[in-house]
C-alpha cells in the first residue's frame, strides 16, 4: 500500500514538474540562438566578431548606453594592440583634476580609463530619451536569462506590431522584449556601420557582433576560467583515482 503511495506521489511530482515546465515554456518567449563560439566547455570569444562588435557599440549603442565597468586597457583581450587601445581611448575626452591651481580640466582618455557614459546622470538620460532609461551595458548579458541569445534576439526582433496589440505612445514593437513594447527604437539598420574587414553589415551580422562584444564585456575572464577549470578537473580526476586506490589498499586488511 505504502509503496503505491510512494510511487503515486513520485509520479505526481514528475508530472507536475513537466506541467510546470510546459507552462513556463508557453509563458516565456523562445529566444533565437546566436550559435555562439563562446558557448560550451572549450568555447572562446570570436575575436573578429568582438572587434566588429566594439565598432557597432561605439558607433551605434554608445550614443545612449554606457559601458562604465569596462576599462579600455582590457580591450587587448580582444586582440587589439597596446597602440590601438591608446588610440581608441584617446578618442574620448575625460574630465580630470583638480590640477595644481585647483581647476578641473579635460584630457584625452587613457587605457586605464573606463568607457565614458553618454549621460551625466539618470535624470539627464531619461530627459533625452522620452522618459526611458537606457541601461548601462557592462553586465547586460549576465543580467538577463540566456543573456547572449536575449540581446541578439532583441536587436533583431523589431517589426510591425500585430493587429491585436495596442501600442502605447512612443513605444516600438519587439517580438522578444517582455510585454513586446520597448522604448528603444530599432537601433540597427543595414549598413549602419562600415566594417573595415569587408564583412557585410547586415542587421543580423551587427546584432551578432555586438552581442559577442557585450558578452565579453560582461564576463571578460571566461576563457581563463574555462581553461583553469579543465586543468583543475583533470587534476581532481587523477587525485580521486589515487585516493580510491589508496582507500582500497588501506581497507584491504579489513575485508
Amino acid at each position: 500500500m505504502l509503496k503505491h503511495i510512494t510511487s503515486l506521489s513520485m509520479a505526481a511530482l514528475v508530472s507536475l514538474t513537466f506541467l510546470g515546465n510546459a507552462q513556463a515554456a508557453s509563458d516565456a518567449i523562445e529566444l533565437k540562438s546566436g550559435h555562439w563560439k563562446h558557448g560550451g566547455i572549450f568555447g572562446t570569444y570570436d575575436r573578429a566578431a568582438a572587434q566588429r562588435g566594439l565598432q557597432v557599440y561605439r558607433e551605434v549603442c554608445a550614443g545612449c548606453h554606457g559601458l562604465a565597468l569596462v576599462a579600455f586597457r582590457t580591450l587587448t583581450d580582444l586582440g587589439f594592440s597596446g597602440e590601438e587601445v591608446k588610440a581608441i581611448a584617446a578618442q574620448s575626452d575625460f574630465l580630470d583634476g583638480p590640477d595644481a591651481s585647483g581647476d578641473m580640466f579635460e584630457r584625452p582618455g587613457k587605457p586605464s580609463d573606463r568607457f565614458p557614459s553618454p549621460f551625466a546622470n539618470e535624470q539627464s538620460a531619461r530627459a533625452s530619451n522620452g522618459g526611458a532609461y537606457p541601461p548601462d551595458l557592462s553586465l547586460i548579458t549576465k543580467a538577463r536569462a540566456s543573456g547572449d541569445d536575449y540581446v541578439y534576439s532583441l536587436l533583431t526582433g523589431y517589426g510591425e506590431a500585430p493587429e491585436d496589440i495596442q501600442m502605447a505612445e512612443g513605444m516600438n514593437y519587439n517580438a522578444y522584449f517582455p510585454g513586446h513594447q520597448i522604448a528603444m527604437p530599432a537601433p540597427l539598420s543595414a549598413d549602419a556601420v562600415e566594417y573595415s574587414d569587408g564583412t557585410p553589415a547586415t542587421v543580423d551580422q551587427m546584432a551578432h557582433d555586438v552581442t559577442v562584444f557585450l558578452t565579453w564585456a560582461a564576463e571578460p575572464k571566461m576563457e581563463q576560467r574555462k581553461n583553469i577549470g579543465l586543468k583543475v578537473i583533470l587534476f581532481l580526476l587523477v587525485l580521486a583515482g589515487i585516493f580510491y586506490a589508496v582507500k582500497r589498499k588501506v581497507w584491504s586488511d579489513l575485508h
Binding site: 511530482l13 510546470g20 553586465l139 560582461a218 577549470g229 580510491y244 588501506v250 579489513l254
Partner: protein
C-alpha cells in the same frame, strides 16, 4: 590507548597543554563503526566547505566596499581587476550552494538512519543550530553585492518581522537602522556576515565534541559493542573522506568553472534600485522550501510562524519519533515514508521558485501540510505500530553477513 609523544618538543607542550593528544584522540584513534557508507562523508565535506567559505570570504572582504553607492561596483572590481578575483567570488557564491547541498544531504542522512535519537539528541540540536546560523549567514551574504535581488530579498525577508503584533514595525526599523533597507542595513549585514561564520566554527566544535562523546551512528543504527565493530578513524576514514572530497570537488568545479551563474539570479547583476521592484522576488534555491511554506499560508503572521515552525519541529524529532530502532533499514514503513518526505521537500523547493498563482498555490499548501503531517503525526504513529525487521546481533556480524550481497548497501 593513550597518546605518548615521541618528540621531546611535542612532549614538552603536551605536558603543559594536551592539545596534540586531544587532536590525536579526535582525528586518529577515534573509534568509528567499521560499516560507515559514503553517506557519512557529508559531515566532513560540510567542514571543508565552511573553511572554503571563510578563507575566500576573508580575501573577498579585503576588496569589497560595504556602501550602497560602491558595493555593486566593488564586486565588479573583484571580478575584473583583482587577480583571480573572479575565482574567489565564484568560489564563494557557488560555495554557499555547495555548503547547503552537503548539509541537506547530511541532514537527510541523519533522518534516514535515526541519528537524532538517544544519546545523540544534543548532537542533533547543535546541528540544527549550525543550520540556522548558516541560513542567517547566507541570507546576509546574498545582500552584500547590492544587486536587485539582494535589495528586494532583504526587503521581503526583513519585512516578515513586521508580522509580529504590536512591536513588529519597531523591530523592522531597528533591523534596518532606518525606515527602509539602506546603507545602515548593508553595513550591519556585512559585519554580521563576517561574524557568524566564526560562531558557526564554535558550534561545529561543540557538534564534533558531542559526536565524539556518543560516537558515530552507522547504517545499522546499532551501538559499537566490542572491538570487532570499530576501526580507528585514521587511516580508514581519513582516506575514505579524502576520496569523497575529491569526487565532491569535481562536482563543485563543474559549477564553478562552467556554470558559475547557474544557481544565481540574473537580476542580481542589475544594481539595486529601490524604485523598481523585480517581477518575481525569489530567494536563493536553498531557501525555497521554507519560502514555499511561508507563502502557503494566506496570513502573514501565520506564514512566518509556520516557516519558523518547520525548523522548530525538527528540534522535537528525538521525542516525536517513537521507534526505538534507529536505522530505516530495519523499519519497512518508515523507510517508505522517508522517501515520500524527501519527495515532499523537493516539491516544496520547486513550488518555492514558482509564482504564487494557479495550481502552485494548491500544491504548495498540500506539500506544506504533508511536511507537518509527516513530522507531527506519521512519525509518532509509525513508531508505535510498525513491526521492525530483525536486527543483526552486531555491526560486525552485519558486515560479514553482507559480504556476499554487497548490492544491498548500494540500495540502502
Amino acid at each position: 590507548m593513550s597518546f605518548e609523544p615521541k618528540n621531546a618538543a611535542v612532549k614538552w607542550v603536551e605536558d603543559r597543554l594536551p592539545i596534540t593528544g586531544m587532536l590525536h584522540h579526535a582525528l586518529y584513534e577515534y573509534p568509528t563503526p567499521k560499516n560507515l557508507s559514503y553517506w557519512w562523508t557529508f559531515g566532513s565535506l560540510a567542514g571543508v566547505m565552511l573553511v572554503v567559505q571563510i578563507v575566500t570570504g576573508i580575501v573577498l572582504a579585503m576588496h569589497y566596499t560595504p556602501h550602497v553607492d560602491m558595493a555593486f561596483t566593488s564586486v565588479e572590481h573583484i571580478m575584473r581587476d583583482v587577480n583571480f578575483g573572479w575565482l574567489l567570488r565564484y568560489m564563494h557564491a557557488n560555495g554557499a550552494s555547495m555548503f547547503f547541498i552537503v548539509v541537506y544531504l547530511h541532514i537527510f542522512r541523519g533522518l534516514y538512519y535515526g541519528s537524532y535519537k538517544a544519546p545523540r539528541e544534543l548532537l542533533w540540536w547543535l546541528g540544527l543550530v549550525i543550520f540556522l546560523l548558516m541560513m542567517a549567514t547566507a541570507f546576509m551574504g546574498y545582500v552584500l553585492p547590492w544587486g536587485q535581488m539582494s535589495f528586494w530579498g532583504a526587503t521581503v525577508i526583513t519585512n516578515l518581522f513586521s508580522a509580529i503584533p504590536v512591536v513588529g514595525d519597531s523591530i523592522v526599523s531597528w533591523l534596518w537602522g532606518g525606515f527602509s533597507v539602506g546603507n545602515p542595513t548593508l553595513n550591519r549585514f556585512f559585519s554580521l556576515h563576517y561574524l557568524l561564520p566564526f560562531v558557526i566554527v564554535g558550534v561545529v566544535i561543540l557538534h564534533i565534541w558531542s559526536l565524539h562523546t556518543s560516537g558515530s551512528n552507522n547504517p545499522t543504527g546499532l551501538d559499537i559493542k566490542d572491538k570487532q565493530d570499530s576501526i580507528p578513524f585514521h587511516p580508514y576514514y581519513t582516506v575514505k573522506d579524502l576520496f569523497g572530497l575529491a569526487i565532491f570537488l569535481i562536482f563543485f568545479s563543474v559549477f564553478l568553472f562552467y556554470a558559475p551563474n547557474y544557481m544565481g539570479h540574473p537580476d542580481n547583476y542589475i544594481p539595486a534600485n529601490p524604485l523598481v521592484t523585480p517581477a518575481h522576488i525569489v530567494p536563493e534555491w536553498y531557501f525555497l522550501p521554507f519560502y514555499a511554506i511561508l507563502r502557503a499560508v494566506p496570513d502573514k503572521l501565520g506564514g512566518v510562524l509556520l516557516m519558523f515552525g518547520a525548523i522548530a519541529v525538527l528540534f522535537a524529532l528525538p521525542w516525536l519519533d517513537k521507534s526505538r530502532i534507529r536505522s530505516a533499514r530495519f523499519r519497512p514503513i518508515y523507510k517508505q515514508l522517508f522517501w515520500v518526505f524527501v519527495a515532499d521537500c523537493v516539491l516544496l523547493t520547486y513550488i518555492g521558485g514558482k509564482p504564487p498563482e494557479g495550481d502552485f498555490i494548491l500544491w504548495g499548501r498540500i506539500a506544506t501540510i504533508y511536511y507537518f503531517v509527516h513530522i507531527l503525526i506519521l512519525l509518532p504513529l509509525v513508531g508505535l505500530f510498525e513491526k521492525p525487521k530483525p536486527l543483526p546481533a552486531s555491526i560486525s556480524e552485519d558486515v560479514l553477513a553482507k559480504k556476499p550481497a554487497a548490492e544491498e548497501t548500494a540500495n540502502a
